[in-house]
Symmetry: C2
Subunit: 215 residues, 2 copies
């Protein structure tokens, strides 16, 4: 049986930017726009259509409950594409976390949905499903470990992880409170799993244990 690569996504080990260059050919990119910290990129209810490519910085995808509780469904960093929507308008909103450079990708009129477009959507889906497990079945420490491992991996597994987002964002991503984030980081420190170089720099001392907590 021959498997069609278009939706089985044969080459996941390639870097994201590799696929993006493919994507660019089917869409019309604009110049890079800078978004200051906390600046909105698109809002809930805005018309969907264009996609957004992160050039640098970090973006958060958020949703609010009626009484103001916030859930961040994803952080996006350099090379990643966001803005996918099944409906005609966005039901999440996107904001710059720390000052981000964004390239808007506008669809051109003739374009087919390329394989890479589908692949990017499927990666978002896989990531979201993984996060679903974290929120549904993991306690606060395991959630924090999952985030640290994820960030470390995205940043090339260097010993020092940069937290571009603040405690509040971390909490709303992990479905806990920012006080709990603080406490968990302290216990990790006491267990010699990490070292807090500064408020936004975490040195990973024991990656194995952190991975074991959330594999």
């Amino acid at each position: 049986m021959q498997i069609q690569p278009s939706f089985r996504a044969t080459a996941p080990q390639g870097r994201t930017t590799g696929d993006v260059s493919d994507l660019l050919s089917s869409m019309v990119p604009t110049a890079v726009t800078f978004y200051a910290p906390d600046q909105p990129i698109y809002g809930q209810g805005d018309a969907a259509g264009p996609l957004y490519l992160v050039e640098f910085g970090t973006v958060r995808i958020c949703r609010l409950t009626a009484d103001g509780r916030r859930q961040i469904s994803a952080f996006h960093t350099a090379g990643e594409v966001f803005g996918f929507e099944a409906g005609i308008e966005h039901d999440s909103f996107a904001e710059s976390v720390d000052g981000a450079g964004i390239r808007v990708l506008r669809p051109n009129c003739n374009g087919q949905p390329t394989a890479s477009l589908l692949l990017l959507a499927l990666r978002s889906l896989a990531r979201t499903q993984h996060h679903l497990m974290v929120l549904g079945r993991r306690n606060a420490g395991e959630r924090m470990a999952a985030l640290l491992v994820d960030l470390a991996e995205r940043q090339g597994n260097e010993p020092v992880v940069n937290l571009s987002m603040q405690r509040n964002d971390i909490a709303d991503y992990l479905g806990i409170t920012f006080e709990t984030v603080s406490r968990i980081l302290r216990t990790f420190k006491e267990q010699k799993l990490i070292r807090l170089r500064s408020i936004s720099q975490i040195e990973i001392l024991d990656l194995d244990t952190l991975q074991d907590m959330c594999e």
Copy 2:
């Protein structure tokens, strides 16, 4: 500006089956296979590739932690397609919940990824993101309300909702324990929000209140 329908998904109000007929043209459907309750459809680590169309019954998509905790990321019912994967193999597994009829859709060799394929993936993404909010920022009662409202809507907003899954599945879908599911249903009953016709039939008495709990 012209918006490309392929990934903006212009016609979300259509029934899912309508899009599936489009999808069928680009893939090779097999005959319907019956899966008995709890029978696996595909396993974690199995090669991804084909998609699966639910003809009748309910399917659960699951993931396990190393110590055996389970998270159900989605239930799929008649007309829905599942089995999307970004990588070369499945990182979730799928099982029949209550006895389900499944049609396997095998990709043919020439096919492009059609627009409807992308649309289905984006719907899965939207659903998963919505569920992420439920798991991250909602308490047990609100989670249960969200499920009931979702099921009611899927079943055409009839007054009586059929629970094709048992308490254990509901719990693992909502990220709570089955005892809590029981307790929440009892409080809903005491609040006259629902009536328990039988163990698997719930009569919705106050849909508005349930919707308010989870909008």
